[in-house]
């Protein structure tokens, strides 16, 4: 008989306790982030979407060589002797014309090795992490701006493996 009443008392105490805990949480500020409206500030140097400032790219192909997933494709050609010399922002001469510079972000594993390899530091990770697209082909980013001088079919200088 005594255990019976003790059980009832314990039950009531448990209910009161758990409801007190619940009510404390009711008035706590919520931890939800209203995502599309509010965003986390990403930590500095976090690895997200790649960007190539192609004006500074000397077309050396180090990035393509170091990439473990082979997702960078660089195609270059020599600039002609008579062309005016072009320089990257840090003064390195751009002896090669980069006419293809494609990164397949769908393949990229965000290791960041390419950005370390880049001698002119033009290939960087940006803070942008919202770049979903409807077709996987749109994940191949074409950075190159210049057109090749040598007509198609002639000898290509491609350091790329891809």
């Amino acid at each position: 008989m005594l255990t019976y009443f003790r059980n009832i008392g314990q039950g009531i105490l448990t209910i009161v306790n758990s409801m007190a805990v619940a009510s404390r949480h009711l008035f706590k500020p919520s931890v939800t982030l209203q995502y599309p409206k509010e965003k986390w500030a990403m930590p500095e140097r976090s690895r997200m979407r790649l960007h190539n400032k192609v004006e500074d790219c000397i077309g050396c192909g180090q990035c393509a060589r170091t990439c473990p997933t082979d997702c960078i494709l660089v195609k270059t050609e020599k600039r002609g002797k008579e062309e005016p010399p072009v320089f990257a922002a840090d003064g390195t001469a751009k002896k090669l014309r980069t006419y293809v510079f494609d990164i397949d972000m769908a393949l990229c594993c965000y290791c960041g090795l390419c950005t370390f390899a880049c001698p002119t530091q033009c290939l960087v990770m940006t803070g942008d992490y919202e770049y979903s697209v409807y077709s996987i082909d749109e994940h191949i980013y074409h950075f190159a701006k210049e057109k090749p001088l040598i007509p198609a079919g002639s000898k290509e200088q491609s350091p790329s493996k891809g």
Partner: protein
């Protein structure tokens, strides 16, 4: 039906209609009004439940639809449910399967007829009001059994069997707790019960004497079990029974089960508010100016909030614990209470 019938009288040429129509129209109009109010209240309650559950779990709940704190989310969801395809599985008992949600809803809906929302705003004042509510609200369990049986699904059947066992057993302590109030009022009419509690919150049966206070708690617990709310939501225990008796339902029929669940919640809260919290009467005489229905809804909402609060803080009971609480705890206590309350009434 008084107030609605009176309003209808003001329509020109209303008296010229045939007798039959004159008797029928007030019934139809009042059921439409109650249905509309009920649907609105349920939409609000579903929204509230999501908000309460979210904030108890340190979340925000719906925030986008409609702008301010996602107030239109449940409207969008209701529309979605109504527009969905009505799927009737191959091997169900079609007639019972299609009928069940409406019977479940009918049980809740019919009980609203005698609820006194205000001093003059009720559909009708039966002299056996509370008895009628107890009787009619057990109709929904028949619908639940129909749903479970007709679904031809073991989980549905388990759920409805549990519902039957649970609702029928918890009806006894609930009815006995109601009887303690009836001892004091000497009438089963809902309006009379509220009239007996007029004049400030000290006259409410909740604060009259300790026996009635305990009777309120017994009624509250038993009513939670009757409407299958957590911690007594065994009939639809998601973790064991998929969704219990409404596993096979979708679209509009599911919406009716949902509507019935929340309508039942509202019903038991309103009954508790009427019996123990003074119905439409204001707690203080300075608050007398507030219209009765508003006071009534606030009281019912407070009780609904407590139901939600309990739901999101307590885990579900086991079947044997459920039966233990009813037969070994609530029932003896409620019998002791009725004796005590009767003794106090004689004194």
């Amino acid at each position: 039906m008084e107030s609605i019938a009176q309003l209808l009288q003001k329509i020109p040429k209303y008296d010229g209609l045939p007798e039959m129509l004159q008797a029928l129209i007030p019934i139809i109009v009042s059921s439409i009004v109650i249905f509309a109010l009920l649907a609105l209240a349920v939409l609000f309650m579903v929204w509230l439940e999501r908000k309460v559950s979210a904030h108890i779990q340190d979340r925000l709940g719906p925030m986008v639809v409609g702008g301010w704190h996602g107030w239109a989310q449940t409207i969008a969801d209701a529309l979605k449910l109504l527009l969905k395809e009505d799927i009737v599985p191959e091997s169900v008992d079609r007639v019972l399967f299609k009928m069940a949600p409406f019977i479940v809803f009918l049980g809740a809906f019919a009980a609203f007829v005698v609820l006194p929302f205000g001093a003059s705003s009720f559909v009708t004042d039966l002299n056996i009001g509370i008895l009628y509510i107890v009787a009619v609200s057990s109709l929904s369990v028949i619908g639940i059994i129909m749903a479970g049986w007709a679904s031809n699904n073991k989980y549905s059947l388990y759920g409805s069997m549990r519902a039957a066992a649970q609702v029928i057993s918890y009806e006894i302590p609930a009815a006995v707790a109601i009887m303690t109030v009836v001892i004091y009022v000497g009438s089963l009419s809902m309006v009379e019960i509220v009239r007996a509690q007029e004049g400030g919150f000290l006259n409410w049966f909740l604060f009259r004497n300790p026996f009635l206070f305990l009777a309120f708690i017994v009624y509250f617990i038993a009513s939670l079990a009757e409407v299958n709310r957590t911690p007594f939501d065994l009939p639809e225990a998601e973790s064991e029974l998929v969704a219990g008796y409404h596993t096979e339902y979708s679209g509009m029929r599911f919406a009716f089960f949902f509507l019935a669940e929340y309508a039942n919640m509202f019903l038991v809260s309103s009954v508790a508010a009427t019996l123990f919290l003074g119905g439409w009467t204001a707690p203080f005489s300075i608050l007398q100016f507030i219209p009765g229905p508003v006071v009534f809804f606030v009281k019912a909402l407070v009780l609904i909030f407590i139901q939600m609060w309990m739901r999101w803080s307590l885990p579900r009971l086991r079947v044997d614990q459920l039966m233990y609480i009813n037969w070994k705890v609530l029932l003896p206590i409620s019998f002791a209470l009725i004796l005590g309350a009767g003794w106090m009434a004689i004194l």
